[in-house]
Amino acid sequence: MNPEVVRVDTDVLVVGGGMAGCGAAYEAKYWGKNLRVTLVEKAAIERSGAVAQGLSAINTYLGQRWGEKTPEDFVRYVRTDLMGIVREDLVYDVARHVDSSVHLFEEWGLPIWKTPEGKYVREGPWQIMINGESYKTIVAEAAKTAIGAENLYERVVVTHLLNDPSDPGRISGAIGFSVRDEKLYVFKAKAVIVTAGGATLLFRPRSVAEGLGRTWYAIFDTGSTFAMQAQAGAEMTQMENRFIPSRFKDGYGPVGAWFLLLKSVATNAYDENYMQTRAAELGKYEPYGSAKPTPTPLRNHQMMLDMMEGKGPIYMRTDEALARLSGGDKKRLRELESEAWEDFLDMTCSQALLWAAQNIDPQMMPSEITLAEPYIMGSHSGCAGMWVSGPEDVSPPEYFWGYNRMTTVKGLFTAGDGVGAAPHKFSSGSFTEGRLAAKAAVAYCADNPGNVQLDEDRVNGLQAQLFKPFEVFEKNKGASTVEEVNPKYILPKAGLTRLQKIMDDYAAGSGTWYRTSEPMLKRGLELIGLLKEDLTNSMAARNLHELLRGWELVHRVWTAEAHVRHMLYRTETRWPGYYYRTDYPNVDDANWRKFVNSRYYAESGQWEMSTKPYIQLVQ
């Protein structure tokens, strides 16, 4: 294939137009009015990223104007939820700014539930309720209007970042291809902000066949954020962390509104509330066990113990919650019923369809919940991502190197799922963090006005590499009478299932109840190595769609490898309920209350592991 090469010269390049990317584009154009701000997205931004389907709540809002919460309160909550290790400078920074983003969403037309006094309706201490079916559409409109439609490249997938040949520790652009036409895109940029989301489908999911698609987190999140930045030499942190959501079974509908707003409880099949019957179990994990609220991993841990003892199914007692809250008032019951359905229909339509298909009426009967397969991400109750600088006025010297949210590669910024050790951002915090990264990126551009260079040899090499799967297919298709079974190549779908089997079998997937050990992880790494070889040498694609899937798979494999290497390095069980190192089953604060970092060296192909200190900033 001989694609047309499209060259785009810009100042600030935003890769990925989800919540963080839209925040970045919007903010970059404000501070960099005379700069060129470019946003590139593999889909259409009005329905892309984790909020594509909508949301029924905004999970991070402090209500500072009403004196509800302080950023310090937020740091204490988040630190405890992740069992004692977060970058408090980054968490604090999101918290102090996040309200302004939410107020802008409301200004742009997002319906937010209000109390009779005009305050936002609280779902929980940090969460507010919204009518969020069009949340992403509204936010995307703001980003697109701000930068101008001519600076938005949709249906272009970025596969690699480009380093400056005169200073390899500096970023100078990115490369990718159109998923619609035979075009290669080469972006040259002074600053690049990577906001391409977290990672799904690394593990064999609980559902199979068609159900592969029903990931809890957005299925279009393919680990690109982590893989591309690692390959460019940026340091990663906490990549051993993952998030295991407890959600309505199979449809993965949200439980937040049920637990927090509707005050529902979950019980096992014998009417026991595992949070009560397993209370003593928390004593093993002090000081985190006695914290209120109980950290998310430990709540998972309690539920898992019941399931492993065969006490499932675990049920959300929706019927009891609605009866109790309505108090027999039929009008109130109808309102609650509508709220319950909206909770699914605004963000997880599949769960509503599943209820209807199983004849489940939440006011009549309870509904099953379960623990999902692992997800690697930095924005929810998970904190994998890149190691970035914090804000100058908050961060100690160990956490500050010039520009907020800049990685260890000069000019390379990230936000949302991309920033590690800073969880609980959710949609509003991710948008806010995109804004923070963008303002710093504009300052970086002002300080570094000279032109960056592209390594043209590398661009040519990548062009050949990107489209090689087409050649592999054409060259070898004659070796078999069916395209799907051929000894000379591997198709992306086959590679995906192979990755999922490796990860589930060896890297603490749901199939082993999230348990692994040094020998298991080492064996997993060997098999990932063989998979990487096959993908490098023999990955085939038959059309642009399959080529997209191929490069998404490569990003997933790199993310998986980082995850395994990090789990291997952290010789403790920091987050029981997320994963267990059976050879090191305890939380080991004496040795491991610190960050695990890694860096990949492209020249040698080696990974270097290290630790960084946890510094407590908020008492």
Binding site: A44, R65, S100, E106, S207, G213, F220, E342, C349
Partner: protein, 148 residues
């Protein structure tokens, strides 16, 4: 199968350069069969069932049949997305029907004004911690500083 297309209703968006479903699908699934001029989901097992294609289809030709590995047959959920609200019809397997209507936006599409009420950015403010429009849009007198 996740999303599927009713051939009686799909008109291929009248052979424009791209169909609405193809434009919007976040996972690059919806495709136009150029011979039949009908759209289809090219990779149903990677469909998130986000309903973006269902909502945008101008002829209401797209529906979702729940994932075959865990969703029993016979139910449907059907959205009708208007300019400021969305109406859902939920039909249970046993025939019961429920209808819900939820607001989606308080201002018309296309009305967003970026940086509304904000003064122009200055070079000196670029070095401060405040984001655009802060502290005004925070609703408090000043941006919090960490108490150390």
């Amino acid at each position: 199968m996740p999303s599927f297309v009713n051939p009686e209703k799909c008109d291929g968006c009248k052979a424009k350069d791209k169909t609405a479903c193809q434009y919007v699908c976040p996972n690059d699934l919806m495709t136009l069969n150029k011979e039949t001029n009908k759209a289809y989901n090219q990779e149903p097992d990677l469909c998130w069932e986000c309903f973006s294609c269902v909502k945008i289809c101008p002829t209401q030709a797209i529906d979702v049949r729940g994932y075959s590995d865990f969703v029993p047959l016979g139910a449907s959920i059907t959205p009708l997305r208007g300019t400021d609200s969305i109406m859902w019809t939920v039909q249970f397997r046993d025939g019961r029907i429920k209808r819900f209507k939820f607001p989606t936006r308080t201002k018309p599409e296309g009305s967003v004004v970026p940086y509304v009420g904000m003064s122009e950015a200055s070079e000196s403010e670029l070095r401060t911690q405040e984001l655009s429009g802060e502290p005004k849009w925070l609703g408090i007198p000043e941006l919090p500083r960490m108490k150390k």
